[in-house]
């Protein structure tokens, strides 16, 4: 996407991560991460498993305190913010977790309404209408009264997305939108993410390991290697990157097909032929 999308946010960057370092015991998970998330765009953080992308997301969400470094979200440093400031900030952000994290004791509609009921004094009919609007947006109107245990994987993700956007957040985080979904469902979710960016002017951060969907939705891609960010840029810039690790990730080769089946089976059962 080369033409800049008009943004309501003046600062340009919704999130600025500076020199973020996270240790878990003696293990260093993230070292000296710098990352800017532009407002009103879809930013994708991509990397294989074990590269620390989930830890980075947890830090940005304020669920984990970093060892050092700062994270400015909408102008507030969340590593030093008070609980009250943090909660104020969180009312402007929505998160769709990887497994959905729907509250299993509540129906889909109750899950979605929870934030409205806790943070606003809207009357019952308004809450119902807002719930239906968001459910319609993710095409889940028919599942309003189902319990989370009755939903399929794709429906769970869509319900989680509806819950994340109920408060019309400025910032939306989406953890692994396409993990465990069939290609057509994951394509639907990708379209939904683009729709949210264009219609609600949200800043969207997607954490994923799926190349295809990342390149489809991203305005900015950050590729993570072991605890560091290898490259950040537009999809075109990433494709043109000279970094061998980035290229390695982009052109992942399928595992070499086994030619000699019999020999391979024998090797597996431990026979030396």
């Amino acid at each position: 996407m080369t033409s800049p999308t008009p943004s309501l946010n003046i600062t340009g960057n919704a999130i600025e991560v500076r020199k973020l370092t996270v240790d878990y015991g003696a293990r260093r998970i993230l070292s000296n991460i710098d990352l800017d998330i532009p407002s009103g765009k879809v930013s994708v953080i991509m990397g294989g498993s074990g590269t620390g992308k989930s830890t980075l997301l947890r830090c940005i969400l304020g669920l984990k305190l970093p060892t050092s470094g700062s994270i400015h979200m909408l102008g507030t440093d969340i590593t030093t913010a008070t609980t009250a400031q943090l909660y104020q900030l969180r009312k402007q952000t929505g998160v769709a977790f990887q497994g959905g994290a729907l509250f299993s004791s509540m129906s889909v509609a109750e899950n979605i309404q929870l934030a409205l009921r806790e943070h606003t004094n809207l009357d019952e009919s308004t809450i119902q209408i807002m719930t239906r609007i968001k459910l319609d947006m993710v095409d889940m109107l028919h599942a309003e009264h189902l319990m989370p245990s009755e939903l399929s994987g794709g429906m769970t993700k869509r319900a989680a997305l509806a819950r994340a956007i109920i408060m019309d957040p400025k910032l939306l985080f989406f953890d692994e939108p396409s993990a465990g979904l069939d290609p057509s469902t994951s394509a639907e979710l990708d379209e939904l993410i683009l729709l949210l960016r264009d219609s609600l002017k949200m800043t969207i951060v997607v954490v994923t390991h799926e190349l295809e969907s990342a390149f489809k939705i991203a305005d900015q891609i950050s590729i993570m290697g072991k605890g560091i960010i290898l490259a950040t840029g537009t999809p075109e810039e990433i494709r043109a990157s000279a970094d061998p690790e980035v290229q390695g990730l982009l052109h992942r080769k399928p595992r070499e097909t086994v030619v000699d089946t019999e020999a391979h089976l024998k090797a597996l059962v431990g026979e030396t032929s």
Binding site: V95, G99, A101, F103, S104, S105, L114, E118
Partner: protein, 262 residues
């Protein structure tokens, strides 16, 4: 040998850490419960779960304990020829000791384990993180209502237990062994003082707090324990832990309260 000592040391440190976290959770929850808005329906819901749904269990165990107590006291007192003390023995035993303790242990088994499992699963499936991210404090939303419902429900259950246990004792003493009804009832009324009822009340209030708080803390802080990353197995581990720890806490604090209060 050194290995064993080292293991013991880490176990003790882990235990102390968990105790600290439990206190931390209590203070955190108290603080968060004081912030508006106030919601009462979650408390009612938890009281339904911890209290109302436990009534049948409490009644069955209460009658049984009362009958057992009546039976054993009868045999012992019959040796000394003072079966007219049966009413006092059963009433004092139930109201001062067995009522609060047995009720608390029943609540641990029925509701406490469920509380830990619920919070543990919420932790592993990041539902607690989701609450945090929706700017809803989990202490207020999940832990607070459970602890308050525990403090309110356990004393009520205890007195239901007391009542049916006294009935069970009455059944064995008066109906089965034909102890004179008057001496049974009068002995009971004369021997039990307000201080005895008050002791039972204080105990059950403290047990209600301890049981729900320990069970909540075990589930809530599951990710910080060794079992944290083990998913379903971790949940079963912390649930077992919660049942063991809260039972021990009930029995030990029972002794402490008994020693401190007359």
């Amino acid at each position: 040998m050194i290995k064993a000592l080292e293991k013991l040391g880490t176990e003790v440190l882990d235990g102390l850490e968990m105790a600290g976290r439990t206190c931390n959770l209590l203070l955190l929850t108290l603080w968060q419960m004081l912030q508006p808005p106030y919601r009462f329906y979650p408390i009612v819901r938890q009281m339904y779960f911890i209290g109302a749904r436990s009534i049948s269990l409490i009644i069955i165990s209460g009658v049984t304990i009362g009958m057992v107590l009546g039976l054993q006291f009868y045999y012992i007192l019959a040796r000394f020829g003072s079966v007219n003390l049966l009413g006092q023995g059963v009433a004092l035993g139930v109201i001062r000791e067995l009522g609060p303790v047995m009720t608390a242990l029943m609540v641990v088994g029925r509701a406490g384990s469920a509380i830990t499992a619920e919070l543990g699963i919420m932790r592993t499936t990041s539902q607690i993180d989701a609450l945090e991210c929706m700017a809803i404090s989990p202490g207020k939303f999940m832990v607070g209502p459970k602890v308050i419902a525990g403090i309110l429900s356990v004393p009520l259950l205890t007195h239901i237990f007391d009542f049916v246990a006294l009935f069970g004792g009455y059944f064995v003493g008066v109906v089965m062994f034909s102890v004179p009804e008057g001496s049974y009832m009068n002995g009971m009324v004369d021997a039990v003082q307000w201080v005895d009822v008050r002791l039972g009340l204080v105990k059950s209030l403290i047990f209600g707090l301890l049981v729900t708080l320990i069970c909540c803390a075990q589930g809530y802080y599951m990710h910080l324990t060794k079992a944290g990353s083990q998913g379903a197995e971790g949940v079963s581990f912390v649930t077992t832990n919660a049942v063991v720890l809260s039972s021990i806490a009930v029995l030990f604090s029972d002794f402490l309260i008994g020693a401190l209060l007359p």
